[in-house]
């Protein structure tokens, strides 16, 4: 198996695993956030902020995957 075959697999893993981890984190934060909003609706801003933080995982995964594609010769190679 050559490097050009591995690059798309690496891209998929970087984005996919990041997305799965984000989903797990957001499910728990979302559940807890709804609990908080049921009692303290004024905390909506804080809940949205905490809910957005795990997004960084999938964004970083995407950035790593894009670098792999662009710098590793995965595009137009």
């Amino acid at each position: 198996m050559d490097a050009t075959t591995l690059i798309p697999i690496g891209f998929g893993m970087a984005v996919g695993l990041g997305a799965i981890a984000t989903a797990i984190a957001q499910a728990r934060i979302g559940s807890a956030g709804l609990g908080l909003l049921a009692e303290r609706p004024e905390m909506v801003g804080t809940v949205i902020l905490f809910l957005a933080i795990p997004e960084t995982m999938v964004i970083l995964g995407f950035a790593a995957a894009a670098m792999l594609l662009l710098l590793g010769g995965g595009v137009g190679g």
Binding site: A32, G35, L36
Partner: protein, 360 residues
């Protein structure tokens, strides 16, 4: 893995609305029950107080407001959890079912009016207000047990078993209460143990609860001249362990030895080597001066409260938050009742404050 995320966050938000110690102590200086009612309208009790003011005034209003608030806040906590978390939450709140059934049985035996019995119940567990209304309309306590059995309520199991064992003989309410307590502790400990990691916190809390119950039983009987004889006459059993619920940290051997002692002081000396030794030794000084067993009860209750309150921090992702919240909320209501009674009797603020119980 049990899902406590939603419920625990909600409970923590509810915990933040509990009245802080300083504010609660400040309520001892409001001067009258009416002053206390007015002060409570600035707290989380506002809705409950305003609803109660429509129907009653003074102490009656306050009692109704505190009861309704406790039922509303702790009662809704049951709906926060599902599946395994829901089963554990149901175990925590089952003590209210026990309280309600005992209240109904006692009320029926003493022929207390149905409305008065109902006012003393706390429909927080599985038995709903409509169930309790039907239960108090039973002709006598035997009919109430039969009704529970018809509903297939798990609580009826120990009552039916006891009645079957004592066929042909009368059964006293105290025996039924003991059977209920023994069944509750035994089955709850078993369920908590089977829940593995998730149930460990609850198991520890139940062991503490069992110890407190058993120690108080031992101390009460420690002062009775011939406890074994009394037991035989009253319960028809020679085995002293029949008096206790499943043991926590304090084994049956020590408890029965304490019961056989001829005085409370000697009973305490038997239990001094247990984890509760320092608390009992400290309370013994107060008991020697006053002769009141409630001093031990209060000291052990404080230990139980501290343990439960600490669970919010020690088990933030498990059932500990519910155990802690229920203990803190119940204690807050008890403190408010103590303040109201003190104000009604015209006690001085410092005297009322001495009756309050706090975690720190």
């Amino acid at each position: 893995m049990a899902d406590f995320d939603y419920g625990n966050t909600r409970l923590r938000a509810m915990k933040s609305r509990l009245i802080p110690r300083r504010a609660l102590e400040g309520l001892t200086e409001v001067g009258s029950v009416q002053g206390l009612i007015n002060a409570l309208t600035d707290t989380a009790y506002r809705d409950a107080v305003e609803a109660a003011l429509v129907r009653a005034v003074g102490m009656e209003c306050l009692a109704e407001a505190l009861r309704n608030d406790l039922v509303a806040t702790v009662g809704k906590a049951r709906r926060f959890f599902r599946d395994q978390a829901g089963d554990l939450a149901a175990l925590v709140l089952r003590r209210y079912d026990l309280h309600n059934v005992k209240t109904v049985l006692r009320g029926l035996v003493r022929q207390v009016p149905a409305s008065e019995i109902l006012a003393s119940t706390l429909p927080i567990g599985e038995l709903r207000p409509v169930d309790l209304s039907e239960l108090v309309r039973s002709q006598n306590f035997r009919a109430a047990i039969d009704l529970l059995a018809t509903w297939a309520a798990p609580l009826s199991q120990p009552l039916l078993e006891l009645r079957a064992r004592r066929r042909g003989e009368g059964v006293e309410v105290s025996e039924l209460e003991l059977a209920l307590d023994r069944w509750h502790v035994h089955t709850a400990m078993q369920a908590a143990r089977e829940a593995d990691e998730e149930g460990r916190t609850l198991f520890e809390a139940l062991r503490l609860e069992a110890d407190v119950t058993n120690i108080m039983t031992a101390l009460r009987l420690g002062g009775v001249a011939d406890a074994a004889l009394t037991l035989r006459e009253r319960f028809g059993a020679d085995d002293l362990t029949a008096l206790f619920v499943d043991p926590g940290h304090v084994r049956f051997g020590l408890l029965t030895e304490a019961v056989r002692k001829s005085s409370v002081g000697e009973a305490v000396s038997v239990l001094v080597g247990t984890p509760y030794g320092p608390i009992l030794a400290s309370a013994m000084q107060g008991y020697s001066a006053t002769g009141r067993l409630s001093i031990f009860e209060r000291a052990l209750a404080r230990r139980q409260l501290r343990h439960a309150a600490g669970l919010c921090a020690r088990d933030p992702l498990g059932i500990g938050v519910l155990v802690g919240y229920v203990a803190l909320k119940t204690n807050e209501v008890a403190n408010l009742r103590a303040i109201a009674q003190g104000l009604m009797l015209g006690e001085k603020p410092e005297r009322i404050r001495a009756e309050l119980m706090f975690v720190d």
